[in-house]
Amino acid sequence: MTSEILIAGFGGQGILFAGKLLSYVGLIDGKEVSWLPSYGPAMRGGTCNCSVCVSDKPIGSPLVLNPDALIVMNAPSCDKFIGSVKEGGKAFIDSSFVGKERGDPRIDRYYIPATELARDNGLKGMANIIMLGKMIKETGLASFDAVKRAAEKTVPAGKADLVEANMRAIEIGAAN
């Protein structure tokens, strides 16, 4: 069983970091993981994305073409990738930037005003983690305990308070 996740948005929204955190979560759960960023001119001020694979067996292509779960944090990425989600897959959309569209019977869509939630809760810059929290809850991809341990791993030493902030963001995401 391989879960393929695509995370996309603007550069600066923490897209790549959210993917890394998710990879660590998989690693801590004893899974095979891979993380592949988009790179090149597109990342300079434009949109960026990363592919994350979490699997029970060695991962073939690390490039996610048809995600089981999609997180999008801006309108261009939503337009670009929403159609690529697998049938029965889930799309998590930051409604602070993307207006609600007609439903799509193929997939489940979740609208979370993550950027507003982050601002209102004093977690500026953590909309990405709020989105991740929602995604983990709805997909059951990992335990919150694994997320906490992953946050401890990925947050630089000396910024321990950020672990707690990350966990709050995860919980806010899960609760919305």
């Binding site: 890394k20 993380w35 960023p37 090149g40 991962i59």
Partner: protein, 349 residues
């Protein structure tokens, strides 16, 4: 860790303390990593004024008997080929990394495998071969780097690691159990008595050189070198074959494409197609014997590459035209999806 970083750390653990490079995407993480890491452990990092300079710094450093490396991506490797020829001609051990991108010309910065011919046949003028290792995972980016330094020292030859933008940029878990650590890097494989380090008035002088004006001398040198290539072939040609026993079709691919081919073959088996996979670990020497062994029951071979078809030549040569060989490729920076390869498998079986 990113593949590029894993490779750099592995080089450090293999005892490489000297890195010379020039910026080019998608391999910049190697230089960035070395620029942070090496000064802290008494090493040397130099951003050279050009790829040409960088490879010649490697030439000097290797001539002094020191483990060293350079890395670049396709257009930069073209610039280095002059230096690589001199390194081969002077029997100097070093590691050269090519994190391939699309070409020709400036091409693209997306992953590609279009430098196979260059790596296996044309890394410089003259009668020479360069051992080429082809990692397929981030772990292998590390493991093969350790191996490359050992091979280089053992056979006094420049050794290339042929990766691509996908392997360089992606992250996977990696561990370094067999490579050593920074404080106690793996020992040099052989003492380098030939190195130009100053004779200290205690021995005759050493000359590092590739110029032999007498044809007899040059032929003798080259013949001796080709004996070493033959030994590398006998001892170090390698491949991984999976599910090839009883297979009707064998899919041959290296590097990043091999991972995708593996997924495609797995799905094909679920659909009842007897598909095996063959993945060369060394591109020169090409694992000919291993390929013939893997294709014992096969009726067909499918080669998949991120190019218009380059390794497919070596597959045909190794099989001596005894089996039909099909090809599937994407180029220009496209990474083929497992679905595309699966379609081709279905089409040809």
């Amino acid at each position: 860790m990113k593949g590029n970083e894993a490779l750099a750390e592995a080089a450090v653990r293999a005892g490489c303390r000297h890195y010379f490079g020039y910026p080019i995407t998608p391999q910049n993480e190697i230089a960035a990593y070395m620029s942070k890491r090496l000064p802290k452990i008494g090493g040397v990092f130099i951003q050279a004024e050009s790829e040409i300079s960088a490879i010649n710094m490697v030439y000097g450093c290797a001539a002094a008997g020191t483990r060293c490396m350079t890395s670049s991506s396709s257009p930069g490797i073209s610039l280095k080929t002059e230096g690589i020829s001199y390194l081969a001609g002077a029997d100097l051990p070093c590691v050269i990394v090519n994190v391939q991108r699309g070409g020709p010309g400036l091409g693209s910065i997306q992953p590609s495998q279009a430098d196979y011919w260059q790596a296996t046949r044309a890394l410089g003028h003259g009668d020479l071969r360069i051992p080429v290792l082809a990692p397929s995972t981030v772990q292998e980016m590390a493991d093969m780097t350790g191996k490359a330094f050992d091979l280089a020292d053992e056979y006094r030859a420049p050794v290339m690691i042929l990766a691509d933008g996908l392997l360089g940029q992606m992250m996977e878990p990696v561990s370094f159990p067999d490579i050593g650590n920074a404080d106690e890097p793996r020992a040099k494989a052989v003492p380098k008595k030939w190195a130009a380090v100053g004779h200290g008035n205690s021995r005759g002088k050493n000359i590092i050189n590739s110029l032999y004006l007498q044809p007899e001398k040059l032929e003798e040198k080259i013949t001796e070198r080709f004996k070493r290539y033959e030994e590398i072939k006998n001892k170090h040609a390698g491949a991984v074959s999976e599910n090839c026993d009883g297979a009707d079709i064998v899919i041959a691919a290296y590097g990043a494409t091999a991972r995708i081919a593996r997924s495609a073959a797995e799905t094909a088996r679920e659909k009842g197609i007897k598909a095996g996979t063959f993945r060369p670990l060394t591109l020169y020497p090409f694992p000919e014997k291993e390929l013939r062994e893997a294709c014992k029951t096969a009726k067909k071979v499918l080669v998949a590459e991120m190019s218009m078809g380059q390794m497919v030549d070596d597959v045909k040569l190794a099989l001596e035209c005894k089996l039909p060989v099909e090809f599937f490729g994407r180029t220009g920076g496209f990474i083929p999806g497992p679905g595309e390869i699966l379609n081709k498998i279905t089409e040809v079986t």
